[in-house]
Assembly symmetry: C2
């Protein structure tokens, strides 16, 4: 038996981050940046107005002063109207500041003049004198040209993508997200919509794994179910084109453990008992084809736990992510439960701001698929804890 | 000026949850279930073995007893071998229990017999007597037939999809996720990869909105940028086929505020000043076409804040979600900052397990696009707070 840390280290040591590729911003959501993005320009690009209003010479714009409106500066306009004494230019938020002006008077600090639509008023009266520089956004005050806008290694959400566009790019270099094939093994598995005969059960692990892979940001290249027949599994494996294969079932010591029978023959793939519950029998390694294989046990809760503990961190590493783990928090146990001696327990749980408890009261068996439906997190209980008591502090991995 | 709560209530009152549709499980990740899923069968479906090992009559299986192995029960097999005195059946995890057996002896509690691969051993010796019922998973012990497996209203993650498959379904009724069109308005906007002239800036709001819409689980039907020209905007709007249009820019009181000029003519669309910073000028309502329109201000941080405060809750409501808001936590301010009097402040922040601080030290201006790149959350400061001091407790909306 090896520890969870040993198995995890073995996996992460073997897992490369994938080569980078150029993607449009529209296609890069959730990807990890593989280059530093530096702004092509100062941000803002030029002095501009922070308000809709009037660009004025501050000295002319005392409360009560009447100014002649001699120009209109719209957003996008390259105009730079000259302002004489007691002259103002109407200006829109974001429009370039006239060189002669040194303050903005917001619309609401004027009498609005004669007409505020279509045609600019000929004259406005100032209600409140602006400070010098009021409502002017200065060129480069947000960032100078060449400033680091988004560092390499950042996972790209909406906000980061927006910053990259502002920095002057419509494409980025990102790590290619891993391409993953999912295989469920087991002669007992039938399609969920059929009526199972004695000994048969609806196939659900591929549904879980495909969705979990997608939710991790990786793509699913194929999903298949294979009976406990080495020739069929060999053929299914030969047809796969992916970076990673995630198999469920057949990784134990049973006589019909087809995954172990087939992949156990690969030099690079090793099967171990890992000190974890559920999910003890685990296989991992690189096939001769160059694809990484994860061989997980066949029970749904084992699959869910193994995916979160071992597969997802590997997929995030391949995707280039700096933070590969889910967020962990501490919660107080609101119920007591038993833990397997000498094994890390990974238990589907529900939690609130303060407490945590098992998702089902029925037990902690690896076959309790309904506990998954109700759960929103996994409690991670260290191997040396044999009993969680009410009031104990528990580590919870949020999903 | 209306309050944030008033604007939000007006939006949520007007927003329907969308009709439901049937989807395959592979296509339902992130959708909200529109029906109760009840298990078609008891789970487990039949008494089965929880371990690889031997199905025995417990009374025959004292430590040291030698049992004749008379059958092999593989996973998926419908066999029900009769067991006589001192007979055992080799059985795989998940395989149906022989009716005559009342316990499982795991492989590791036997001498493994003669051969453990391919051919079953003719005889095994028991090392440890099992308890009655040991390692038998009983039919229905997880859930009886008809039990509620996943309730209507659940957002479907990998675990819930797996439970639905186990319950016997390969399709589900889900709320249709909203289809959203994104329009950036502004004559100053140019494609990010071009070199802007005086007065021009790279268009980034549509990048932000499209990604934020997708990340919310909705789909993006079109993304466009339109100059400040009512005829062009009218034409762009006429071409849209979506449930929701999210516009940025042109919602204020400026002379060229094209969104207000065009959509202000729609009876159902209302423009308000909302007591929020950034994001004060907001438009919302139903167009005559039946599409809902959100008219957001044009600054990137305003767009980000408005999306999280107003648009995303509406999209989640349309998608049928019960929980429409992001998770909020409390953190202690590690820096001081000023807040606008009388307006809720929505500030891009960074945070750790204990503290929170603004994502940039440069200020809280709505144009600080770089603050978005660094931020991973929004601080939400109530309208009556004018200054956050170091040590103050702050509400943080996690993304």
């Amino acid at each position: 038996m090896i520890t969870v840390a040993e198995h995890r280290a073995r996996i992460l040591d073997a897992v490369p981050s994938l080569p980078s590729e150029r993607r449009s911003l529209a296609d890069a959501l959730g990807c990890v940046l593989a280059e530093d993005i530096r702004s092509r320009w100062p941000i803002p690009l030029f002095d501009n107005s922070g308000m809709d209003g009037y660009a004025v010479r501050r000295g002319d714009a005392a409360a009560g002063a009447a100014l002649r409106v001699i120009a209109d500066v719209a957003a996008g306009s390259a105009d730079d109207p000259a302002l004489g004494r007691r002259e103002a230019a109407r200006i829109m938020t974001g429009a370039a500041m006239p060189t002669d002006a040194d303050a903005i008077v917001p619309l609401e600090d004027t009498d609005l003049g004669v007409a505020i639509r279509e045609t600019a008023p000929a004259q406005i009266t100032i209600l409140r004198q602006p400070d010098t520089g009021a409502h002017i956004r200065r060129q480069g005050e947000d960032a100078p040209a060449g400033a680091l806008a988004v560092p390499s290694g950042t996972t790209l959400g909406a906000w980061q993508l927006s910053a990259i566009a502002s920095a002057g790019y419509d494409e980025v270099l990102v790590h290619r997200p891993p391409r993953v094939a999912v295989i469920s093994t087991g002669s007992e598995l039938v399609a969920p919509s059929t009526t199972p005969l004695r000994g048969q059960i609806p196939e659900s692990n591929s549904v879980l794994l495909a969705a979990a892979v997608r939710a991790s940001g990786a793509s699913v290249t194929s999903v298949s179910t294979v009976a406990d027949d080495p020739a069929l599994l060999r053929r299914a494996l030969d047809e796969i084109d992916a970076d990673v294969i995630v198999l469920s079932g057949g990784a134990s010591v049973g006589a019909f453990d087809v995954v172990k029978a087939v992949l156990g023959g690969e030099r690079g793939v090793k099967f171990d008992n890992v000190a974890i519950q559920p999910g003890k029998p685990q296989g991992f390694g690189m096939c001769e084809s160059g694809m990484l294989a994860f061989c997980l046990p066949g029970n749904p809760v084992s699959v869910a736990a193994s995916f979160e503990m071992f597969v997802r961190p590997a997929l995030r590493t391949m995707a280039g992510a700096g933070i590969i783990d889910r967020h962990h928090v501490k919660r107080i146990a609101a119920a007591a439960w038993r833990c397997p001696p000498g094994r890390v327990q990974v238990l589907p749980v529900i939690f609130d701001d303060e407490t945590v408890q098992p998702a089902t009261s029925g037990g902690s068996g690896s076959h309790l698929v309904t506990s998954l439906a109700a759960a929103s997190a996994l409690a991670i209980v260290p191997a040396d804890v044999e009993h969680v008591n009410v009031g104990d502090e528990v580590t919870v991995m949020l999903l």
